[in-house]
Every structure is written in structure tokens, then in C-alpha cells.
Symmetry: C2
Subunit: 428 residues, 2 copies
């Protein structure tokens, strides 16, 4: 089929009437589906059930260093957990602090600490007139929610296929001392599935920020979350790169096992330079009696080493891959050539990012909802929920069953067509 | 033996020489003991080992309400965990939010949130010139560390056998709007083991604070941590009492299973009015993807109900009781009648509080350390580590074995005698 924009008004009207009839038919089915959340499916969670057998009442719950993991003590994580997560994110164990179950919480904490205590001795941000963050867009809504919550002004930086627009990033951070950070999901980015290029990472490492307490917030959420064995993105390790560039303290790297073992019952970590970690430990001493070491032990004994994680992630991929492909196939089959939307085929991560014609995303999502399919709210991938083009839609294929996914995507493409036709008719 | 203060100089000198000889003998043994930390012993941790068998790879990890505890979702805790911890602290489940593994972290979070976002809409504390907290003394060092970390001015309030000096509390909170809170360990208090009297709790509930955002920080750390079956303290439930008094929002109550199951791998909670909890949930949405629900399930399925907790706590008591009694027996036998120290015999909790003659605590602790026994640092039970009398020493009998405890306490009383004799000689 040819591009919608080439159609004459009568053709569009005929199409509209046809699409509306189809829509009413689907609506009558009373679907109740959800493509909004980057949640693993039950089948994926089943992959880790044997982790529940790893520790039992006969287990010796001592760490390699002889620490009784059941008791108080060890603020920043047992050694073998640091090693495992270190291997996973390619950072030496001594550059790691192990936290609780949520890397989002670690990021929140990092911002919160900077607000009231500054960064490695800098002025607490709450004492400053203005604090700003750069936000590559589209991006992760919960990053933006944290900075919004703390009253930090967010500045959109457009994503390119190589990563954020680095010309803009370099210019802004070197000129404006109020810019204290940038949110990054550098591998299989949320929502686009883009992995930052080597050049992009190197430019990050060589940034010359005006603010001494500027940090790159490197959320390595999907570091090992490939969809394919033989076609994977590779990301340069940022801590080493920053050190080489003479900026060893400029980055915080975050990760967790949330989408490896169980979301909510995994292990999260931060990686950073020794100077950064020393600052963080000062706060940790005040904040907590330490995180759950038994769960750290459970994870280490189950996955054993990096190879265990890699093998485990292949099983996740085997479940996720057909789901991503089902969505992409329908998008291609139904929308290919129509020029009413574009999308990126990711090699990993949890999302497919779809861009509709300008001014259509809200309406498409509303139409989907009306017919029983929940999509991520329009604007969610932008700071303040404001997508300036009203075009980005995040599709999350992981949670529904393949059948549900097919139904939901069929409805989605129908809504894209219908809303696009209406939009085109406005100008005829 | 008669009181040391009645002894003549020559007698004291003879005593000193005898005590010094004893001290050198003990020192030569090269002890390495620790009576500083309120840590459960390995034997106590063994009591909960069967909890490790409760969930296995065949378990249905769904909550009573059908929530898959392995996945994302449920920000404030599964229903049955709220019920269990609610029963434990005598509060309805709907007044509970379940957190991660550390109630200290919940308290830190509560203060941190108040700093940058205020309390139920009040001015964020970081925008105020001065924020003050009342600190019943002696008290819990980690409470004081949190308020100190946030630059909150701490005001000492003396403890009485009935709880904090309520005349002083009432006067201060009603007069000074900068006073935003008071730290309380109302049952088997840290370190004295005092339980607040009915009248004391009622006076708390009827406080008329000048600050609308004043809260009582009620750390119910030892609510079920009795030493005796037949001789237990009873504490009035503060939430209900505050509600009766027309102050429903005036209290945050904290608890955890840290000293019930495994420290560091337990479940913590806050209890408060609906209005308070609604405010907290707003932050939680931003802060985390939720806490570890699998561990919540593990605890609920292991303890089942309040009765399960009560029975379990009897086993802890059976291990702790002889340890407390060993220390108390030695104190009584060696120091009784000497009038160089006083202590309280607690019915629960984790500590014995010892008061030396004024100006002796630091020296006693140093002497203990010199001979290989670590005590809690002098001043630790006071804000800013400043014990104005230099007299309070916290004894933690839980972790050492009974044999170690006897050795350590023998040394302790020897040091008390020696330092007291030296002190008395100063004025002769």
C-alpha cells in the first residue's frame, strides 16, 4: 500500500469508514490487555524458581570471607556479590556498593543525598537557586519523575541512533554550572533500544562540565538483556573510559538483577570511583544497618559467575524474542510503507519505541484504551510528561502472552491508522 | 563491702594496688571480646533457619490477593505482611506500610523526606533556619546520628523510670515551633530497658506541639522482645491513643523483624494515620519499584500469625535471659553496695544500662579496651557523643557466648572499681 499522505480526500474518507468499522468490531470483543509495563512475564519468572532452593535450613550462610550473612554487619555488600555484579557490568569489585532490591531506589538516594549533602563536598543542591539535569528523550519516565520530585529543572536532549546529541550535551554542560547531571540508559535504551556508540561514550568520558559536582547517571539497566545470541550490541565501559580521560569521578553506574532474577527481590548496585564510593559510604553508615546479605548470597550461589548469568539471560531471550518479533512483524506488515509511523528494531532491552505522525500519540493511546488495551501514557517518555511532538509511544511486549500481544498489536496498528487518517483529513 | 566513698585514703590506695594487680593479670590473658553491639548471637539466628525452607521451587509465590510476589507491583507491602506486622505492633493493617529490611532506613527516609518535602504539606525543613529534635537520654546512638547528619539540633531530655521527663517535653514542644520531633524507644528502651508508663504514653498522645509538623518518632524496636514469660512490660498503643486525644497524625511508629528473624534480612514497617501514609506513598511511588515481596511472603508463611511470633520470641528469650542474668549477677555480686555505679534490671530488649560515678565512663571503657574487651563507645548514648556526666555505659550481652560474657563482665567490674578508686583518690 502507498503512503497515506499521497491519498486523496475521498480515499482517506473511505479508508476512515473502513477502519472505523474494524475498530468497532475489535471494541466489541471487550479486550483487557496491557502493553504498558516493562514487566517480565510469569514464564520468565519461572526461570529463576530454582533460586528458591539454593538456600535451605542446612545451608552454611557464611560469605567467602566468613561473614555470617544472617547477622548485622557489612554495609556495602559481601565480596562475592560485588564480584558477580562487577563482572556483569565490567567493573572491578572494589568499585561496587551492593544495595537492596531496587536500582531505582539507589538513583533516588543518590539524588536525595546530593540535594541535602552535595556531591563529594560540594554545596548541597537544596542550597542552590537552580539545579538542572539533561534528559535524553525519549527516555525513562521514572528517571524524570525523580528529578521532577526534587524540583530539578529538566532539559530535553534529543536521542540520535548513536546516543544523545553530544554536540548539545558538550555545549550545555560546559557552559552551565547549574547542570548537575544527565540521565542515561546507555544500552538498549528505554524506550528506543539504542546502544550508545563508542564515539558517544568517549565523548561522555571527555566532557568538561562547568559544575564540579556534575555526574553522568549511567543506568545500565539492560546490560546483559540481549534478544539474540549472535547479534548483540556492545557498549564501552564508562568508568574505565572516564578514568582514562582524567574524569574518574564523573560517573555513577547503576545496575540490578531485577530483570534477571525476580523484579523486587533482586540485588541492586552502584559502581563509581573510590572517592565517590567513600562519600556514599559515609551516608550509608547513617542510613541503614546494611542490605539483605542473605539475598546477596542466594544470588551468588545460584548464578555462580558471569557465565551463569549469560546462560540464564539466554533463557529470558528465548521467551522475549518471539514477542518482540510478533510486534515488529505486525508493525511492518500493517504499517510498512504507509509513512504514518516509524520504529526501531531493538536487539535487546524491554521496549519498542514507536513514533507516530506529530500530534497523534495521545489520540492513538486513547483509542487503544477505549478498546481495552493499555499502552504507556502519552508523554511518559518525556520530562514533565510533555512530548513536544505528541508522537512517541512506548510498547512493552514482555508481559502479555504471545496471543494477547498479537491481539493488542493488531488493535494498536488499527488505532495508528485511524488516528493518522483523521489527522491527514484535518488538512484536506 | 562498704561504699568506696567511705574509705580512707590509705584504704583506697591499698585497694588500688590490689585492683591494679588483678587488672594486669587479666590483661595478660589477651582477651578479645565484644560487648558493644546489640547483635543476636549465632544460636539466636539458628532459631530461624527453617524459614529458609519455607519457600522452594515448587512454592506458589502468590499473595492471598493473587499478587505474583516475584514481579513488580504492590508498593506498600502485601496484605498478609501488613496483617502480621500490624498484629505485632497492635495497629490495623491499613495503617501499615511495609518496607525493606531496615527500620533504621525507614526512619532515615522519614527525616530525609521531611527535609526536602516537609510533612503532609508543611515547609520543607531544609528551608527553615532551624530544626530541632528532642532526644531522651540516654538513647539510641543511630537515632541521634540521623538527626545530626541532617544538621538537626538535638536537645537532651532526661529519662526517668517512667519514660522521658514529660514536664520538659510538654513545655518544649508547646513553646518552640522549631521542634519537629522526638526520638522514642518506648518499650525496653535502648539502652535502659525502660518501658514508658501508661501516663507517660497518654501525655505523649495529648501533646500540643507548636509545630504542625511535629511528630513522635516511636521506634518500637523491642515490642515483643521480652526476657520473661511471666514478667513482661506492657506498653499502651500510641496510634490509638493519639487518635483518641485528637492528634491522629502526630506519630510515626517503626518496627521490624530484624531481631526476630535475621538482622539485615527481615522486614521493616512504618505505622501511621492514613493522612501520613498517603503522604509517604506519594514519595514511595517516586523512590522505588517496591520492596522485596518474596521476603515478605517468606516471613508470613513462616510465622503465620502473632502467635507464631510470640512462640518464636520465647526461644530468643531462653537464649538471652541467662546472658542478661549472668551480667546482672556479676554486677550485683561485685558492685552491690559499693556506690560506684548503678544499673537497671530490664525485662526485655537488648541492653543493660550502667551508670558509673560522674567522669568515669570514658576511662572505664578505655581500660576495658586495653585489656581486650570492646564496650560501646563512651558518650554513644547521647547526642553528639557528649555524655554531660561521662557516666553512661551501654552493655550489650546478646552476642558473646555465656563464657565470654562472664569473662568480659568480670573485667568490666574490675575496671569500674579501679577507675572509681582513682577518681575518689583525686579528691583525697
Amino acid at each position: 500500500m502507498s503512503a497515506y499522505k499521497e491519498l486523496r480526500k475521498e480515499e482517506l474518507l473511505a479508508l476512515k469508514s473502513d477502519l472505523e468499522a474494524q475498530y468497532e468490531k475489535v471494541k466489541a470483543k471487550g479486550l483487557k490487555l496491557d502493553m504498558s509495563r516493562g514487566k517480565p512475564s510469569a514464564a520468565q519468572l519461572d526461570l529463576s524458581m530454582e533460586m528458591m532452593d539454593i538456600l535451605n535450613s542446612s545451608s552454611e550462610l557464611k560469605s567467602e570471607e566468613g561473614v555470617d550473612c544472617r547477622n548485622y554487619g557489612i554495609l556495602d555488600g559481601i565480596k562475592e556479590a560485588k564480584e558477580l555484579l562487577g563482572a556483569m557490568i565490567e567493573v572491578p569489585a572494589e568499585n561496587i556498593i551492593i544495595y537492596g532490591n531496587s536500582s531505582l531506589n539507589v538513583m533516588y538516594d543518590t539524588i536525595s543525598r546530593s540535594m541535602h549533602h552535595g556531591v563529594m563536598g560540594s554545596t548541597p543542591w537544596c542550597k542552590l537557586d537552580k539545579v538542572k539535569f539533561l534528559c535524553p528523550v525519549p527516555g525513562y519516565d521514572r528517571h524524570f519523575a525523580i528529578t521532577e520530585y526534587f524540583g530539578i529543572e529538566m532539559i530535553n536532549v534529543p536521542m540520535t541512533p548513536e546516543g544523545p546529541d553530544m554536540d548539545m550535551v558538550e555545549k550545555l554542560v560546559s557552559e552551565d554550572e547549574a547542570i548537575k547531571g544527565i540521565w542515561c540508559v546507555p544500552k538498549y535504551s528505554n524506550p528506543q533500544g539504542i546502544t550508545y556508540s563508542d564515539e558517544c561514550v568517549r565523548r561522555f568520558a571527555r566532557l568538561k562540565p562547568a559544575a564540579k559536582d556534575f555526574r553522568i547517571y549511567w543506568d545500565n539497566a539492560y546490560g546483559v538483556h540481549h534478544l539474540y545470541d549472535d547479534d548483540q550490541d556492545y557498549l564501552i565501559e564508562i568508568l574505565a573510559e572516564c578514568e582514562k580521560a582524567g574524569n574518574p569521578d564523573m560517573v555513577y553506574k547503576f545496575c540490578s538483577t531485577s530483570k534477571i532474577s525476580f523484579p523486587g527481590s533482586g540485588v541492586a548496585a552502584i559502581a563509581a570511583s573510590k572517592a565517590n564510593l567513600d562519600g556514599i559510604r559515609k551516608q550509608l553508615t547513617i542510613q541503614t544497618i546494611g542490605h539483605d546479605k542473605v539475598n546477596q548470597l542466594r544470588h551468588v550461589r545460584y548464578y555462580k559467575d558471569m557465565n551463569g548469568i549469560v546462560e540464564h539471560m539466554k533463557k529470558h531471550a528465548a521467551i522475549l524474542r518471539p514477542k518482540f518479533e510478533a510486534v515488529l512483524d505486525i508493525l511492518e506488515r500493517e504499517l510498512g510503507g504507509l509513512e504514518i509511523g516509524s520504529w526501531i528494531k531493538p536487539k535487546g532491552g524491554y521496549f519498542i519505541s514507536f513514533d507516530s505522525m506529530d500530534g497523534c500519540a495521545k489520540e492513538i493511546i486513547a483509542k487503544c484504551k477505549e478498546a481495552g488495551v493499555i499502552m504507556t501514557a502519552a508523554g511518559a517518555t518525556y520530562p514533565y510528561h510533555k512530548d513536544p511532538h505528541d508522537s512517541n509511544i512506548r510498547i512493552a511486549p514482555s508481559f502479555p502472552t504471545p496471543e494477547e500481544l498479537t491481539q493488542a498489536t493488531e488493535l494498536f496498528v488499527l488505532c495508528v491508522k485511524l488516528v493518522s487518517v483523521n489527522k491527514l483529513l484535518e488538512n484536506k
